[in-house]
Amino acid sequence: MTTKAIKENKSHIQQSLGGKIFNVFNYLFILFFCFTIFFPIWDLIVISFSRPQDISVLRTNMWPTVWITDAYKYCFQDPLLGRAFLNSISRTILGTLYHLTICSLAAFSLTRKDMPFIKFFTIIFLITMYFSGGMIPAYLNIRSLGLLDTFWVYILPTGFSMYNTIVIRNYFNSIDKSMEESATIDGCSMLQFMYKILLPLSKPVLATVGLWQIVAHWNSWFDNMIYAKPESLITLQYLLRRMSDSAQALQDQAAMMSITDQMATGLPTPQTIIAATTVIIMVPVVIVYPFLQRYFVQGIMVGAVKG
């Protein structure tokens, strides 16, 4: 206690001028970096609540002249957006559960070091980390499996990841082995042991990998673009991607005339609609994320330290 106090006191005295300047610069830089993260989000929020005529000019004000919700009204009336929301939510939930099931099963088996052929199976799984068929063979495979234009194309292909499996396995390895022995003596089958004892004990790592997967599913758009053409299967990210594409095309073709016309009618323009859609997509992430942030790293840290 006293040594600590002395040390702190000493380091306080030793704080040189250079150190102080560094501190100020350091804090300012980090604050500036945080500002650059807030700024684009706020900018889009402002646009999504602004009147089209207020944001069609070069402006530096970071507050809407008049707050209006037309763009949001338009978005929430759009049946496609509702459909996309449902699809994104369901692929996220189902996809994550499926992924966790497959990876946990593989990870549990990979904790067996004296199981015959386990090296062989490990190599089979490891190869998938370094080598893949590539974009086109993957597409042809999905096509020949008959999964094109089905909802399952979002869930099944992302079912396994060796990296996540290793993270989960490291955590499993860190759990006391005597737990398993006593469970087996009590007549517990391996499956029962897994879902009654092992998985509940591994909540931190399952939360971590689960969150990674939730984010990956929520943010995914490429599989939508190449595997699932029907409107009924559209997801939020790809909907936004498509909207930006067509808005850009408008700008490129200098079809500003129609936009000016639209502005005169006071209807939301592609720009405000895109901004509103982006905000709608971000809201779940930005609101939920700070509360879950620590889980994103927690599981992997424990696994890495003990494994």
Binding site: F22, N26, Y27, F39, I102, P116, L140, S144, S244, Q271
Partner: protein, 317 residues
């Protein structure tokens, strides 16, 4: 993996393979689902790679199409666009590596110097955030901020008289690479320091105490304790990123480029997508994909081999 003593004891008793298999029967059943999963979604596509050596016809299927040997690879090496995308790929990934790698380490050290716990926690949470936003959303940010009609950057430049007319940054070739680099640093920096912060947290604090008693200042401590202690992590991360030199993120490029910037922005994966998925040149683009895949593996293996030479204990896994 190190064997525990019990394993040694057990292996002395030499149980027959059959008893071992019987003992692990449930685990073979557990493996069934993951194995089916990887066979269908990882190994079947690998089997499909053979169309790189075939004249692929959709109605004939992978098996039925006739072999053409290395025709597609010959075409690839005579394809001017291929050289352009290969050059762009290497250029963009080298530049990203040169920019990202030192910045990540510097930012980790800066964050580590923040002693105010609450400030540290809050700012770290904020700086992680972009990592969890999709490239579609980030692309939408970038197009908005740099927009010639309503973007803040153009507004400021015009206001301060630096330019007379707004610039449409996103369709200008000369701006693509700088924009890409800035945006990818912005998106990844906060998250990429996590691994370094973990490594720094593992350093024995008595080293710092001893150093400060000996009169070492903060900079001296960073240079003589922190940096050398995280060197193994730095080396591992460097080797891992060398292995992915040929894999510029498809997502990032695809959401930032457009027809105006294809010439400088088109990388192998985006080219494969456009020629393969849009123009339906399945066999040719599979050959390009295979080339990229094999070259990447060679890079990873070389990196692994070099690092094993440098440090026998090195393992990526």
């Amino acid at each position: 993996m190190t064997t525990v003593p019990q394993d040694v004891k057990r292996s002395l008793q030499q149980p027959s393979m059959w008893t071992q298999i019987k003992k692990h029967l449930p685990f073979y059943l557990f493996l069934l689902l993951p194995l089916i999963q990887v066979i269908i979604f990882n190994y079947l596509p690998m089997y499909g790679i053979q169309i790189a050596f075939k004249d692929f016809k959709m109605r004939r299927g992978i098996m039925g199409s006739s072999w053409v040997g290395f025709e597609h690879f010959e075409r690839m090496f005579n394809d001017k666009t291929f050289y352009r995308v290969l050059f762009n790929t290497l250029k963009i990934s080298f530049l990203s590596l040169i920019v990202n790698f030192p910045l990540t380490i510097i930012f980790a050290l800066m964050m580590n110097e923040v002693k105010h716990a609450r400030f540290k926690r809050v700012t770290q949470t904020i700086t992680y955030l972009p990592h969890f936003l999709s490239w579609v959303v980030v692309g939408s940010f970038v197009y908005q901020i740099l927009s010639p009609s309503s973007g803040i950057i153009n507004a400021l430049l015009v206001k301060f008289g630096l330019i007379d007319n707004p610039i449409y940054f996103m369709i200008k070739k000369e701006y693509f690479v700088p924009i890409y680099l800035i945006v990818s640093v912005w998106k990844g920096l906060g998250w990429s320091i996590v691994i370094y912060l973990a490594a720094i947290a593992g350093i024995d604090t008595s080293l710092y105490e001893a150093a400060s008693i000996d009169g070492a200042g903060r900079l001296r401590q960073v240079l003589s304790i922190t940096l050398p202690s995280i060197m193994p992590t730095i080396a591992t991360m460097l080797i891992l990123s060398l292995g992915s030199l040929l894999n510029v993120g498809f997502d990032a490029i695809f959401n930032l480029y457009n027809e105006g910037t294809y010439e400088v922005a088109d990388v192998i994966s985006t080219y494969v997508y456009r020629r393969g998925m849009i123009d339906a040149k399945y066999d040719y683009t599979t050959a390009i994909g295979l080339f990229q895949n094999v070259a990447s593996i060679l890079l990873v293996l070389t990196g692994n081999w070099v690092s094993k030479r440098l440090d026998p204990d090195f393992r990526i896994l």
